[in-house]
Amino acid sequence: MPTLLIVPMSLNATAYIELPPRGLTLRWYLDYLADPDWRAATVFSLKIAFSTAVAATATGTLASLAIVRGSLPGRNALKALAMAPMIVPHVVFGVALYLVFSPIGLTGNFTGFLIAHCVLSIPYVVITVSAALERFDPALERAALSCGASRTQAFFSVVLPNIAPAVAVAAVFAFLASFDEATVAFFISDTGGKTISRKMFEDIDFNLTPVIAAVSTLMVAISLLLMGSVELLKGRREE
């Protein structure tokens, strides 16, 4: 709950952070919008988060199908591999990526971030989509197959519509996991490209102004909005 404090702070009139605020102002939001550095970081973050949502959801959904329905040995090992990015400390992952990315110019770079954030988001996608696939009765798919549908037809007209809400939820999780991600972003950002998290981290450390409160409020608003949409999607899934 202390998080909610940032909302009044971002509207505070004085430059010095204090509570309760002396007067209300939108100045810090305007400062944020006027600052090219913040603007660049925001656009960079949104681009990465959106692409991560698409790529991680596609990769994770295919992998979930293989894990839940596939016939390879070592299902548990596969599942463990898909979950591993949640277990490995992010600081270790960040340092490892910096080590490999830095010589080939992938730091501060869209592709580098896309790879890193896809790896970090895939566990959430696999958890969400696998759970939906396990609830989905395979007899339905078999019925489609026995009625003459091909595997692909059965997937697109029977399986996918049934798990679609879960896939959408997974995409939202992937977007948020990327947009809010801070530790790995700290290591693989550079002056050429940094995410909103990295920019915030620097400013909190060196330049604590109410603009951070304004940015924080916007980030919380985005999370809330997306979480709200997840609740709506979950409601539809349960109908």
């Binding site: 990769t59 295919l62 199908l65 277990i87 400390p89 600081v91 895939i122 549908a149 924080s216």
Partner: protein
Amino acid sequence: MDMSAAPTPGRLIGPALRLGAATPAGRYGATLTLVLLMPLIVLFSIGFLYPIARLVIMSFGDAAADLEQYRRIFTTSLYLGVLSRTISTAAIVTLLSLMFGYPVALAMSKARGRLALVIAAAVLVPLWTSVLVRSYAWIVLLQRSGLVNAFLVESGFIAAPLKLLYTDGAVILAMTHVLMPFMILPIANALRSISPDYALAARSLGAGSLATFLRVVLPLSLPGVFAGCVMCFILAIGFYITPALVGGPEAMTMATLIAQQTMVVLDWPFAAALSTVLLLVTLLVVLAFRRALSISKGINSVA
């Protein structure tokens, strides 16, 4: 389409089929499975396994199995101190999360209707709010001119503002706040799966509400407690953002030490060795408690 390959209608309603485990017809062939897995395998090989393998290999230096860096970690009291501080901080954070989280999980599993929604929101919204934002909120609260100091001075408890920020206490407080959802969700999951009939049975046999809780509900929720503790602990030992922002420069953790070695000191082989130690500790904890994690689906309940 070859109809002879389709299962007979009689088999379709069999219970084994509904479980979908024993029937080859509901499963994808090996080739298709591999194709579906390809994107994940390629991505994880390039973007996950290879970088971490490179880092681990680097920690051994040029010669094969050169343990110089590890000797340095385990013979320097400064670094041993960092390692033990990291582990003890994580243990305290886990314990505090359990103490504060269990009642919330209990309320979450019992609440109905609007109240249930409020509690779920109070747990889930922070989970999906940036760690940076939550750490920043604590900086604002705890700084010298912050709300907590202002309140204490105003109410006459203290004469001058205390140093609250950049202390071990601040790190523990903020980390507990950040990690609590990872404790609450597995416990709430475990509690929800306990049939209320057990508690009713205990009550009808004459147990008081405290005895019912201690001897029936609590033991049955232990798998969730274990899962939550393991999640909290492994996330806490690898935590970077909160200690880096809220903690003092002299109170380093493994994560902030690794960052300092790579970004400031530029001693990569040493940072690689520190990372390997952190990774090993994490994996050991996960392996030791693997059963607890899988029983209550500890990780799964977070998403």
